[in-house]
């Protein structure tokens, strides 16, 4: 079997990925026909030049697939867009978490994250679900963290309670509590940053896992 020759294996791999746009049956047949052709055309005495010659004469895998009337899957062109949408989704989720104190802005970013995650052709169904569950819940968890910490500091520091009641705007609240009640803030910061940091780590780990697809897809082209 000469189909194990690296050049041949590479050609067949390109063919297989170009044929992904074809109906399964047609793709299988095309790959099996081409494999048989290579099997018959090459033997143990074939030189690398023979192999190259035979492959050149076969033509580009993408060309063969388009002869069957389907646009070959071309990861390069589609991927750029897919990867961009996927990145917007991830950035949207992470930004939403950072913006959790401003709920309206955070929700807008979160919706962008969800839409991009489900629109990009880059992720598989499993990846979409993981992204939605882990990243989608991130904003909610961050918001809960913030309110747990807020409740804690309210219960434990008179200064903080007065400041919180005095400032409606969330950003002003945090700034003012930090400015006015410095030493009392230790508990708040510990709870808030501790839980928030843990959450962020989980988010980053998931994002890294998702980003593996960029590499896998890139290899196909």
């Amino acid at each position: 079997m000469m189909t194990q020759h690296p050049l041949v294996a590479d050609y067949l791999a390109r063919l297989a990925s170009a044929a992904e746009g074809l109906p399964a049956q047609e793709a299988r047949e095309l790959i099996s026909d081409i494999t048989d052709h290579l099997d018959v055309g090459l033997n143990a005495t074939s030189t690398p030049a023979d192999v190259r010659n035979l492959l050149d004469r076969l033509g580009h895998p993408e060309e063969l697939v388009s002869t069957l009337g389907a646009a070959p899957v071309s990861p390069r062109s589609w991927d750029g867009r897919a990867a961009l949408i996927a990145s917007v989704g991830l950035v949207g989720f992470v930004a939403a978490e950072f913006a959790h104190a401003n709920l309206r802005l955070a929700l807008t970013l979160w919706v962008i994250g969800i839409v991009a995650t489900w629109v990009t052709p880059l992720w598989s169904a499993r990846q979409r679900i993981v992204a939605t569950v882990v990243h989608g819940s991130g904003l909610g968890l961050a918001w809960v963290c913030y309110h747990v910490a807020l409740r804690y500091i309210r219960a434990n520091s008179d200064c903080a309670r007065q400041t919180i009641d005095a400032f409606q705007d969330v950003r002003a609240r945090i700034e003012q509590i930090t400015a006015l009640c410095g030493p009392d803030m230790t508990g708040f910061n510990r709870a808030y940053l501790g839980l928030g940091g843990l959450l962020l780590l989980i988010q980053i780990a998931t994002a890294v896992w998702l980003l593996q697809s960029f590499r896998t897809e890139g290899r196909k082209s």
Binding site: L30, D33, I34, D36, H37, V40, G59, L64, V65
Partner: protein
């Protein structure tokens, strides 16, 4: 050497499937064999496109396939003409003869 200019490429595309059918007249052949023959006749620009063509011909029920053992190596897929395929070759042969003589007349006429 395969002639490469656009006009020839277009002609080749037009006649290729009928040449395939004609090669199958009277005998079964396997894919590689068909490909090498058409390729050395200068009728195939890229050999691989032959397989999608064969699979289309099979879908259109102009050729049929059977798997047959080969003396060395795995079994091969052999192609043969269906009754529909035979008809298609016969009708193309008529059209081609007419077409060829029309074109010849014009080409010869211009030359003299």
């Amino acid at each position: 050497m395969v002639p490469n200019d656009a006009a020839v490429a277009q002609l080749r595309r037009g006649v290729l499937e009928h040449c395939v059918l004609a090669l199958l007249e009277g005998e079964e052949r396997y894919g590689y064999d068909l490909v090498t023959e058409l390729s050395s006749a200068g009728l195939l620009a890229s050999e691989g496109t032959m397989y999608p063509l064969l699979s289309r011909l099979r879908k259109e029920d102009l050729v049929a396939t059977t798997w047959q053992d080969s003396p060395n190596g795995p079994p091969r897929r052999y192609y043969s003409l269906t009754p529909g395929g035979k008809e298609a070759v016969a009708s193309f042969r008529d059209s081609w003869t007419q077409f060829k003589s029309s074109v010849d007349t014009i080409l010869e006429g211009r030359k003299s």
